[in-house]
Structure formats: structure tokens, C-alpha cells
Symmetry: C2
Subunit: 328 residues, 2 copies
């Protein structure tokens, strides 16, 4: 299990159950298929989305019934399977050899297998949801979430290599790609408690704003990570034409043309990267990006503070600074 949850044994053990559940439903083919699912789930990360469902279900000081526990576990497994499906397909598209330090599915097995494995996880996610005794609205919310993610991915792909992509378009893409599923996860977890529609909307917003801050922070960190790490992600993003917020904001400064001049190159040398890196720093785009991320974080915290104290609220308040690297 990922160390991120070391201080939260309750969440950790629930995430372990989620993993077992995912393996149980996925492994019903021949040994080759089964092995590929074992491999996939052996490389899981922080499992933030299922964790958000679990945290959502802890936002009141009432213990869940056994039935609700099962529903939460299944929702969490469904969301993680969906997320795994999108990661597998992303890695094929980005030709990423590694995922979380291990070979990506398409490089360990084959592109063919990876495409179908993603499709299979999508369908098993849906099958799991259809089998649950939950209100239709929850299934619809999640199905809409999946569509939103795919549309955002198509949009992100459409804007590749587009120097004119705006910060608004970037925010729209990451809201669909990342933030919506964070919001849905937290709110469908909370929907297992007796919150009303109004409160569930607020809880969705908490998750959504955390998701926005999380993605922007991720894009900022590419430019301020340790020397050894810098460059790898930036280089790959630039060469693949994905322009993240720091880059987009730097285009609105006097450094625009100088930065852009590197972007037409077929490959980038280490010197090029250091130059880009320095220009982005000098342009002030990182500070602006941080302010935008901070803004989403503050919104999330203010919204969270409106709720009464609960185990879920406590966990959320404690993990936010770590997750959103507020110390950067």
C-alpha cells in the first residue's frame, strides 16, 4: 500500500479491501489475463479517488451500516477501475514506458492488450455500478463523470501544439480531466450519509476545488522539483505539445517569443531545457500559477469549514497541505 495513508489505518485498510475487490472482479479470464490484472493492481498509487469516496462517507459522526460499507467499497473499486482504465489508455497515447516506476501495461504486455484491458475495466466499472443497490442518480453522476473525462481528454488532445491555448481553456480541460471526478468521488461517498442535495453540492465543490488545486500543483511541481527530476516531464510535455498553466501564463509575458522559439524544435537538449526553465521562472508564471492553485485550495478549505467536525473532515484537513504541497 502507498505510504501516503500510513497515518490513517482506517482508510488504509478500506483501500486494501477496495484493491481485493478490484482483483476479484477483474480476474476471471485465463492465467495470462489474470496475471496482467495482478500486475496492474500491484502498482497502485495513492488511490486518491477511492480514498475521497471513503472520506466522503466519513463526513458525519455516524458509523455506516454494513450495507452502506459494502456500497462505499464497491463505489470506490468502480472509481479506481475507471481511473486505471484512463491511465492505461493515456500511457499508450503518450508512449510512456513507465508508470509509477514500473513498466506501463502496454510496454509490459502489448498495446493491443492495453487498449482492451482499459475497455474491460470501463465495462467492469459499469457492471459493478449496475449491480449496486443505489439510487440511479449516483450511477448517472458517475457515468457523466466518465463522459466528462473523455471529452476533456479529447479537448486536451485538440489543443496540443496550440500556442494560443488560453488559461481558461486549460482550466476547462483540467476541470474535466481531474477535478470533476474528485468532486464526484467525495460527494457520492457523502451521499451514503443523510446529507441533503444542497450539502452534497457543497461537498462536490470541495472535491472539485481540491482536484483543480491538485492538478495545477502537479503542473507547477514539474518546474520546481529537484534537479535530477526537472526536465523529464517538462520536456515530454513540451515535445508532445501539452502546454500546462505555467507555460501558458508565460506566453502572456515579455518572455513569450524567447520561450516559444524553443517549442518548434524536434528535440530539446539539456541546455534548451535549462533555458526554458529559467525563462519560465523569470516570467513570473510560476508565482501566478501558485496563486491560482492557492485560490482553489482556499475555496476548498472554506467550504470544508462550513461542515461540522467529523473523522472525514479531520482527515481532509490534514492531507490537504501534503497533497497540495502548500509549502512550495
Amino acid at each position: 500500500m502507498n505510504k501516503f495513508w500510513d497515518n490513517y489505518p482506517e482508510i488504509q485498510s478500506k483501500l486494501e479491501f477496495v484493491k481485493m475487490n478490484m482483483l476479484k472482479v477483474s480476474k476471471n479470464g485465463n492465467s495470462y489475463l489474470n496475471n496482467s490484472f495482478d500486475y496492474l493492481f500491484s502498482t497502485s498509487g495513492k488511490m486518491l479517488r477511492p480514498a475521497f469516496i471513503i472520506i466522503g462517507s466519513m463526513l458525519k459522526n455516524i458509523p455506516l451500516t454494513k450495507e452502506k460499507e459494502i456500497i462505499v467499497n464497491n463505489l470506490a473499486a468502480a472509481v479506481e477501475m475507471l481511473h486505471s482504465a484512463t491511465l492505461i489508455h493515456d500511457d499508450i497515447i503518450d508512449d510512456s514506458f513507465l508508470r509509477r516506476g514500473k513498466e506501463a501495461i502496454h510496454s509490459k504486455y502489448s498495446k493491443e492488450h492495453a487498449v482492451y484491458m482499459g475497455d474491460f475495466l470501463f465495462s467492469e466499472c459499469f457492471l459493478m455500478l449496475s449491480n449496486l443497490e443505489i439510487p440511479k442518480e449516483v450511477v448517472i453522476k458517475l457515468a457523466e463523470g466518465i463522459s466528462t473525462i473523455c471529452k476533456a481528454e479529447m479537448l486536451q488532445n485538440y489543443y496540443r501544439y496550440d500556442f494560443n491555448v488560453t488559461d481558461e481553456q486549460y482550466l476547462k480541460i483540467i476541470s474535466g480531466k481531474t477535478a470533476v471526478l474528485f468532486g464526484i468521488s467525495l460527494s457520492i461517498g457523502a451521499a451514503q450519509l443523510d446529507f441533503d442535495e444542497e450539502e452534497l453540492k457543497k461537498i462536490f465543490n470541495i472535491g472539485f476545488n481540491v482536484g483543480m488545486a491538485f492538478q495545477i500543483t502537479d503542473d507547477i511541481l514539474d518546474f520546481i522539483s529537484e534537479e535530477s527530476v526537472i526536465g523529464k516531464d517538462v520536456k515530454s510535455d513540451i515535445l508532445k505539445g501539452y502546454y500546462t498553466l505555467p507555460i501558458i501564463l508565460s506566453f502572456n509575458t515579455e518572455y513569450k517569443n524567447e520561450i516559444k522559439s524553443f517549442f518548434d524544435k524536434e528535440s530539446l537538449s539539456d541546455d534548451d531545457l535549462i533555458n526554458i526553465y529559467n525563462l519560465i521562472h523569470k516570467s513570473g508564471a510560476l508565482e501566478k500559477s501558485k496563486l491560482i492553485a492557492e485560490n482553489y485550495t482556499s475555496k476548498a478549505i472554506n467550504e470544508l469549514n462550513e461542515f461540522e467536525e467529523s473523522a472525514g473532515k479531520k482527515v481532509m484537513r490534514e492531507i490537504l497541505p501534503v497533497l497540495l504541497k502548500r509549502s512550495y
Copy 2:
């Protein structure tokens, strides 16, 4: 609209509505995304799966209520979107440049777009199903169908280049890849009428057996189409390591080694193809394949005959000989 339904204006007009429905739900992105869906649905084929849902809903001489008509239309759109998603992903994997005589999505747009477009269609199919006022069982059946297809695709991929693949394994693959969805389509259409569970199972079997016969016939036709067409599909199947029933059955004959000797080649000349083609013919594998297909067709017809006369039964009986090329 495909000419296949020219003699069935009722089905044709219902399929037109299905197409409009698919376009309506898919087109809600920017103009680039919208155009790609216009393009996709402009190249639709016979739309057999949605047609089977419609035919299923015509298996009694009772007109459908307006509500049921809408359900049938939505189920049909969902199934065709699902099928389109699998075709788009198949074409990426097989590097097929053309689909129904027009550029495949991944070659007209990009692989990236095609992967996400398939994923988006999967999720819109789920979303459509979740929004319908139908018993859970129908949604579960379809979700299981999608999983079955993906598992069969993974299995087919696993058995690529395997000289020891058996006819039983081939039948298992095509049952998952093709036949199950034919069966589900016919039976979820019929489920809109007042058939009991027993009858719905029989109706599933009719669709399933037609699907088996259809796929085997397709694989046979690759070897007996007109001179100009021969070779293209066979060549591509052999080079990609997909061994279909005629090939598998020829491996059980004295021509085995001679045929296999061609299969290790990196490319196949026209002469090679003619040789393979002649050997498969001489081996008697085509006749054996035809017998197997005929067997599925007979089963389907016998099962169909157990039902009382209806508009749906009439259509099914009339299209089967055309669909299954019983005159070969």
C-alpha cells in the same frame, strides 16, 4: 442508410431515428469534436445490433407503447455506440486504414483522438442506459455483454500467432466477440414485450446462434470472395496472427505443415497467397467450416420457428439467408 434494409421501411426509419439519437448525445463538444462524430456516424454499416433490438421488439403482434418505443430507440443507440467504440479501437490496433471504404477514425483524425473517442462512446452508452426507465437486469445484461466482448478481444489477442489454437478456442472467442451481443440485442428488444424468462432465453439463443453463423460465414467468405477481394483480408489476418476457423481446421489435415510454412514469413507475395488459398480449399477446411456455420443457422431457425408468427419473425426469417449467405 445502408441498402440492406431497403425492403424493410419500418426498420429503416427506426434505424434513422437511432442514428439521430446517437448524433444528438455525442455532439456536445467543440466543432472539431462534433465533426468527428458526424464523420463517424456517416459511415455506419448495416447496424445489425440495433436492428436486432428493433426486430426483437417486433416478435409479438402487439404494437409498442410510445414509452417502449423510446426505450427501444435508446437501447438501440446505446448498443450501436458501444459497437462503434469497439470498432474504433479495433481499427487502431489492427492499423486498418479504411473502415467501410472510408478512412478509419484514427487515420482521419489521430490515434489519440480515436482512443478517447472510443472511451467517450463507451461512457455515453453507459450514461444512456443509466438514464433509461428499464429494469436493472437489462442494464446488467448489457454491461456483462460489454465485459464479455472485451475479454474475448483480450483472448483473441492472446492467441495471436498460436499454431495450437483449437476450433473450440476460436468458437469461444467469436461467441464473446460477436455472438453474445447479437443474443443480448435480440432479447433486450423482446424484453419490451411480455415474454417470460424462459422465452427470453430462447430469443437470446436465436440471436446468439445467428451471431455465431454470421462470424464464421464472414471468416469463410474471406476465402471465397471474388478474385479481386481475395487475399486482402486473409493476408492481413495471417500476417497479424489471427487464425480463423478455416485456417485452424486446415491445421488438422495432411496439409498442415505445407500451410504453416507460409505463416512464418514476414510478408506474403501474391503467389504465396494463391498457394495458401489453394491448400485451404484442398484441405476441406472450408466445407467443414460451412457445416459448422450451417449447424448454428439451423439451430437459430428451429428456435425461431417455435415462436408464433409476428412481423419480427418474418423479417428475421427473410434476412437470415442474405445475412448468412446460405447459398455459398
